[in-house]
């Protein structure tokens, strides 16, 4: 049986390191602020959100047709298109492409999909060296940790942590925490790999059905080097990344970096369409649960996600628990509504790692009703028997008590029972959790109902 991720437990470890927590919260809140300013500068921003949402809805409604159109266009461009039903097929397809050409080293740009498929763990034991070339992703690879954020993968690390990782793995000076020194060190050790690698890989921000183009938005130029230097290029693409036409990029490219980082556009927006003479280009289209999600009435619209991370940056719970506490490739609000579709039992606690405050929904550039889906996942968790037994029993008892005025009054008004009882009504179990860092409210001498009966009931026609 899969182990259930305990987000609350994991978050307490994150919170205990207060310098890390404060930096993490401040850094991401700063991104949220930049996003607010960047979006407020576009008068039609809310209309853009609606349009983006509608384009995605249309595309997802005709997904099969657009995928086939993409395949035909890509093939006409000289690209080889592969289809992968799940993570295992994806990894095998990639391995087979590499193995058939004797490729031993792979330089790759950031891709959440390859993390989702745990591709490195599959390729490395089979003799393929995989080198992450995005700075944040490389830091995480060297530290043997998954990314904690879909846009800024090492945002939970302080400079000192990065200096420690690089000193341990790249032989840099552990006492030099200077950002430029650290970035330059990584650059010097990674750059030669581009020249010698047998193959390059990217994910995709968008795949354009009418042209067969893969569009990759980056800030470091590492994707372009990964594509343009080796003789073999593989793009791994989740099937929901399809958009119908090039003109739709005029909507999405405007929104992506503004939502993510508050910048108008990423440094590089690269369109990879045709293999250079003498080289090969492959596209692997991956389902891995996406078709199943598309069939879920309440959750299909999560496939609209363009992976900007705005919901994570604004989420007060994410900022105070860190991406790794979700125990999944996708963390924060978007992770909370995607992860249970992959493994309900393992991720059954995640829909409860939310106050349902709705800020995620308010920033989402494609108008996914994230907090509504979190609420709905809670019901799915309960209905499929994935709630902890004690919580389920507590809710059953609370439901009975609150359905009966007599039982409720007896509980509330029993002498001295207020303080002991009420947190139980509202808080159910883990009762002592309230008092760990908070005072318990004092019970007053009389409840409102008692006050009413004493002061006002005579006026009340009974």
């Amino acid at each position: 049986m899969t182990e259930r991720i305990d987000h609350a437990e994991a978050s307490s470890g994150f919170i205990a390191a207060s310098d890390h927590l404060e930096f993490h919260d401040r850094r991401l809140w700063d991104l949220r602020g930049k996003r607010d300013r960047a979006t407020a500068a576009i008068p039609e921003w809310e209309e853009l959100r609606t349009l983006a949402s509608q384009i995605k809805e249309h595309t997802l409604t005709h997904l099969g047709a657009y995928l086939e159109q993409f395949e035909r266009a890509a093939q006409a461009n000289g690209v080889t298109v592969h289809w992968a039903r799940d993570a295992a097929e994806h990894n095998q397809v990639v391995y087979d492409i590499l193995a058939a050409r004797g490729a031993k080293t792979l330089v790759k740009a950031k891709s959440m999909l390859t993390d989702e498929c745990e591709m490195r763990a599959f390729l490395e034991p089979r003799g393929i060296e995989v080198i992450e070339t995005d700075l944040g992703e490389r830091i995480q690879q060297l530290d043997d940790e998954p990314p904690s954020h879909i846009v800024v993968p090492a945002v939970h690390k302080l400079r000192a942590d990065v200096a420690e990782v690089f000193a341990r793995t790249l032989g840099t000076d552990p006492n030099n925490h200077d950002v430029h020194y650290l970035a330059e060190s990584q650059r010097r050790t990674t750059r030669p790999s581009f020249l010698t690698a047998d193959a390059g890989m990217t994910g995709a921000n968008f795949a354009v059905a009418e042209t067969g183009a893969i569009v990759v938005c980056t800030n470091e130029g590492n994707a372009d080097l990964s594509v343009h230097l080796p003789k073999l290029y593989i793009a791994c693409v989740g099937i929901e990344k399809i958009i119908p036409r090039t003109e739709h990029l005029g909507v999405f490219v405007r929104m992506l970096s503004r939502s993510a980082l508050g910048s108008p556009i990423t440094q590089m927006t690269s369109h990879f369409r045709v293999p250079r003479p003498g080289t090969e280009m492959h596209v692997v289209l991956v389902d891995n649960g996406r078709s199943d999600r598309l069939g879920m009435d309440d959750f299909w619209s999560s496939l609209k996600c363009i992976r900007c991370g705005a919901c994570m940056n604004t989420c007060p719970v994410y900022r105070r628990s860190g991406g790794l506490s979700y125990g999944a490739t996708y963390s924060g609000p978007i992770g909370v509504i995607i992860d249970p579709a992959y493994n309900l039992r393992k991720y059954s606690a995640l829909p409860f790692a939310s106050t349902l405050n709705g800020s995620c929904t308010a920033v989402c550039p494609v108008r996914i009703n994230i907090h509504d889906q979190i609420y709905k996942w809670r019901r799915v968790v309960a209905e499929r028997n994935a709630l902890p037994f004690a919580k389920k029993q507590a809710m059953k008892m609370a439901g009975k008590l609150l359905a009966s005025p007599r039982l409720f009054r007896a509980a509330v008004e029993a002498a001295g029972a207020g303080v002991e009882y009420l947190p139980r009504v509202m808080l159910y179990n883990r009762l002592n959790a309230w008092g760990k860092q908070r005072e318990v409210p004092q019970a007053p001498p009389q409840t409102f109902r008692q006050w009413w009966l004493a002061q006002r009931a005579k006026k009340e026609p009974r």
């Binding site: 105070r320 790692a353 308010a362 609420y375 809670r378 309960a382 359905a403 860092q437 318990v440 007053p444």
Partner: protein
């Protein structure tokens, strides 16, 4: 005369009767004929928010029995009102249920939108307050504009409070960041919940607030618990108390 049935959420009844009294008196000052159904318990939100919707059916059915056949149902709690309006689906949706759901209002929106209350000549509150809008009141009931979207600013609670003599406002750095109560979240996710609460009250304290005022007593219960443990000299009052002319408590 406007007929109002007073909806007193379970935790307000047991812990904050003064908030219910202030709500009652305030409604009466505006000429409402207020009635308090004695058999009320809870709206069903705690069970439904935990995913156990079926367990909320008894509480929801009881709520409908208590609150049928009145013009308005008014309660001093945004999330409870939101549950009744938007999530009250554990029971069959007959006419009585639909009517109850449509007639349920949160106190501030009822004062602001339905009664059109703008003046509170009996109220004086010579203190610096930090206004806290609960997230449900804010982003789901639309009690005020929210910072994620560029929009012409509005705030129903601020409009009402500005009419109180002597009141001054302190603006925290993150005015609409969630305080971390979140119902059962407060105990099942205690570490994050408490940290959010600590950050929230510290933000108000830094901004110079003496009193945090909100239309959502559950947020205040959580924030008060955090502030007391931290030893911060902050007070907490429901907006009904301030508008009704209660002195600082």
């Amino acid at each position: 005369m406007t007929q109002v049935a007073l909806f007193v959420p379970c935790y307000v009844d047991a812990f904050f009767p003064e908030v219910a009294v202030a709500t009652l008196e305030l409604l009466e000052r505006f000429g409402c004929d207020v009635h308090y159904p004695l058999d009320q318990t809870c709206c069903g939100q705690p069970m439904a928010n935990s995913g156990c919707e079926a367990d909320a059916a008894g509480a929801e059915a009881l709520f409908v029995r208590n609150f049928s056949d009145v013009d308005y149902i008014v309660g001093p709690s945004g999330s409870c009102v939101h549950h009744v309006r938007e999530h009250f689906t554990a029971i069959e949706q007959d006419d009585a249920v639909r009517q109850v759901r449509a007639r349920t209002f949160e106190l501030v929106e009822f004062l602001h939108d339905v009664l059109g209350a703008r003046e509170f000549p009996w109220a004086e509150f010579p203190h610096v307050i930090g206004l806290h809008n609960g997230c449900t009141s804010l982003r789901k009931l639309g009690t005020a504009s929210w910072s994620e979207q560029a929009m012409a600013p509005w705030s129903k609670p601020m409009t009402l409070l500005q009419a109180v003599k002597g009141i001054r406002f302190a603006t925290p750095a993150r005015p609409d960041e969630c305080c971390g109560f979140g119902g059962t979240f407060s105990v099942y996710e205690e570490p994050v919940s408490a940290r959010m609460g600590q950050d929230k009250v510290a933000d108000h304290h830094r901004a110079g607030a003496e009193v945090i005022v909100s239309a959502d007593m559950s947020c205040l219960m959580h924030q008060k618990g955090c502030a007391e443990r931290m030893g911060l000299p902050l007070r907490f009052m429901h907006i009904a108390q301030v508008l009704n002319g209660s002195p600082l408590t």
